[in-house]
């Protein structure tokens, strides 16, 4: 029998201490949720990568471009049934703070190689028909309020317009993706429009290709395709590196350092710090209750009951903090997406992340409560009643 009223009243005995402890726990669990969600977002592309896509990039670096002439040759490789070019445009919308990814790409082939793309507004036909049109991820469109037919001016330091102005793209479609291998924050526009502008001198910039994405035919082995591609350009003019999509995504993640390790370290540190803080609170609280424990035992409450009172206090304290932290992480999800969603596409506090937060909360509650609860259980009535209140 655990007197629940006693549990709640003991917790609220020092209201300020209670509130501060709950808040510190809430902040820690909130941080854990956010940091974990960032890692999940970073790794989402890797986890959801397609097995039938091969990425071809320069062997030197992702930032070194490849000749246009590689495209037709790659298309001839055994097992390759479709190919699309991607060029990083590196621009911004109106001002530098409004950054999101833009790529010049082959419109029709984009849909062939990425069947997970689907339009939620606009039509594929409109996009294909108009060379100055673009597709925009639904998340970015929502953030900036882009609608079908709008003109989106993009300024690209990599491909500056000769007149110093912006590139204008007409929104033909808003897309979403069925898989996380493709985020919903990117702007895609016609490669031909970029090429034509460069040829006509309307804009300046490199004419080569950033990456080729190959779709492998059913039955063909991606490993064989990669080997053949690597061998094909081994002697230049630009050696290439063909990788699976998951490897490519992983490489992309690692470009920003070992973020998962860094984030996990920060999260772990925060958890240990908060565990010590809650443990300290619980030990103080249990010491203050020593005499009460003696009284309860004298009245006939068992060692198990007083153990239950102390451990329950820890669980309730941590439970409230944890729930508040999780709620906070969920409520701030849209704000986080709005502020850093372009850097962490697919950011979301998912069910597994919430489960991890719940597990961390329970673990902290248990670890913080077990020592005072065991002490309370082992106290004799006589020694407990001697304690100074």
């Amino acid at each position: 029998m655990v007197p629940l009223r006693l549990v709640s009243k003991n917790l609220l005995k020092h209201k300020l201490r209670f509130v501060l402890t709950v808040l510190s726990l809430a902040v820690a669990i909130f941080l854990l949720c956010v940091l974990r969600s960032l890692v999940v977002a970073l790794n989402a592309g890797v986890a959801d990568a397609a097995a039938n896509r091969v990425i071809v990039q320069s062997k030197v670096s992702l930032f070194v471009l490849m000749p246009q002439s590689y495209g037709p040759k790659l298309a001839q490789v055994n097992g390759v049934e479709a190919l699309v070019r991607w060029n990083w445009f590196g621009g911004y919308y109106k001002e530098q703070a409004n950054f999101f990814a833009q790529f010049a790409t082959d419109p029709k082939e984009l849909f062939d190689v990425y069947p997970e793309i689907y339009l939620v507004e606009g039509t594929k036909e409109d996009f294909l028909a108009n060379q100055k049109s673009c597709l925009i991820g639904a998340e970015t469109a929502a953030k900036y309020g882009f609608e079908i037919g709008d003109t989106v001016p993009i300024i690209s330091p990599l491909y500056p317009k000769s007149d110093g102005g912006a590139w204008d793209y007409q929104v033909a479609g808003l897309y979403r993706s069925k898989k996380k291998s493709l985020d919903e924050n990117t702007l895609f526009f016609h490669y031909d429009y970029l090429e034509k502008s460069l040829e006509e001198g309307v804009a300046m910039g490199p004419k080569d290709v950033g990456i080729f994405v190959l779709r492998i035919a059913p039955g063909a082995q991606p490993v064989d395709v990669m080997s053949e591609v690597d061998a094909m350009f081994e002697n230049g003019p630009q050696a290439v590196q063909a990788t699976s999509e998951s490897e490519f995504q992983a490489q992309f993640v690692s470009m920003v350092g070992n973020v998962p390790l860094l984030v996990s370290s920060i999260g772990g540190g925060v958890m240990i710090a908060i565990l010590l803080a809650v443990l300290n609170t619980m030990l103080m609280s249990a010491r203050e209750q020593t005499r009460d424990i003696g009284v309860l035992k004298a009245l006939g409450f068992t060692d198990g009951s007083v153990f239950g009172i102390l451990i329950l206090q820890a669980f309730v304290l941590c439970g409230l903090g944890g729930a508040l932290g999780i709620l906070l992480a969920k409520l701030t999800e849209p704000s986080v997406v709005a502020s850093i969603g372009s850097m962490f596409p697919g950011y979301q506090v998912t069910g597994p992340t919430i489960l991890e937060a719940v597990a961390a909360t329970v673990a902290i509650g248990f670890l913080a409560g077990i020592a005072p609860a065991l002490r309370a259980r082992s106290l004799t009535v006589i020694n407990a009643l001697r304690a100074v209140r």
Binding site: M1, P3, R5, L6, K9, N10, L12, K13, R291, D292, G294, V295, L296, K297, A298, L299, G300, F301, T302, D303, G304, T380, V381, I382, L385, R389
Partner: protein
């Protein structure tokens, strides 16, 4: 030797060891106390009064001998068994009142009832009646810090009797009270003894308080039994040296 005493101690010994030194607090004590008695336990410091009270109340265990209450050998009981026995059979009143500071008077009195099968409503009603009995019905919602010492001790007495135990053990119940409050508390204990037939064993240093009992058991230094003083010849109960 008394026939069927309520409390029966035989060869009760309690030895404390501190810093390698052993101290015999109770030395082969034999004592019988009858049901319905009101006993004051007196003696110098270190004579083992409180230790004896703790052994009779099942709060502590002796090193030798047996403690029988109503024929049950509580010395042989294990922890949970003893806790259940305490909950049902004994009410405690302590010198420092020992009320739970975060609970109201009503909640403090209800605490022992949580260990019974009574419903919430029944618990509430029982506690209210107990507080009414000690004259504190109007202080039910007050916390211990909002009560005077005398009122706190009366709440503690209400808590001790709310489960209707036959035996009430009081350790210096008037030790922290002024004379007026002490007299009120002693009057209440007398009433519980006379009207409700509770057997009361009270440890006290206060000779005036001891005079309110029916008998005084004098303890000697070294944990042996001294004389037993009967205060009321008309009393139906009297202590007996075995």
């Amino acid at each position: 030797m008394t026939q069927n005493p309520m409390i029966r101690l035989r060869g009760v010994t309690k030895i404390y060891t501190r810093g390698g030194e052993t101290l015999t607090v109770l030395d082969k004590l034999d004592l019988d106390m009858e049901q319905g008695g009101f006993y004051a336990l007196m003696g110098p410091s270190g004579s083992g009064k409180t230790t004896l009270l703790n052994l009779i109340g099942g709060l502590d265990k002796g090193d030798a001998g047996s403690v029988e209450i109503e024929g049950e050998n509580i010395s042989a009981m294990d922890g949970p068994e003893l806790a259940a026995w305490r909950a049902e059979k004994v009410g405690f009143v302590f010198q420092g009142f020992n009320l739970i500071p975060v609970l109201t008077a009503q909640e403090n009195v209800e605490l022992p009832l949580l260990l019974t099968k009574l419903s919430r409503k029944e618990r509430h009603e029982h506690a209210r009646l107990a507080l009414e009995l000690v004259g504190l019905d109007d202080r039910r919602g007050h916390r211990p810090s909002q009560l005077s010492g005398g009122q706190e001790q009366r709440v503690a007495i209400a808590r001790a009797l709310v489960t209707d135990p036959k035996l009430i053990l009081a350790d210096e119940p008037t030790g922290d009270l002024d004379r007026k409050s002490a007299d009120d508390v002693l009057g209440l204990l007398q009433r519980l003894n006379r009207e409700y037939k509770k057997t009361i064993l009270m440890v006290t240093h206060d000779a005036e308080a001891a005079q309110k009992a029916l008998a005084i058991v004098h303890m000697e230094k070294g944990g042996t039994l001294g004389r037993i003083e009967r205060l009321d010849a008309a009393a139906a109960t009297k202590p007996t040296r075995s």
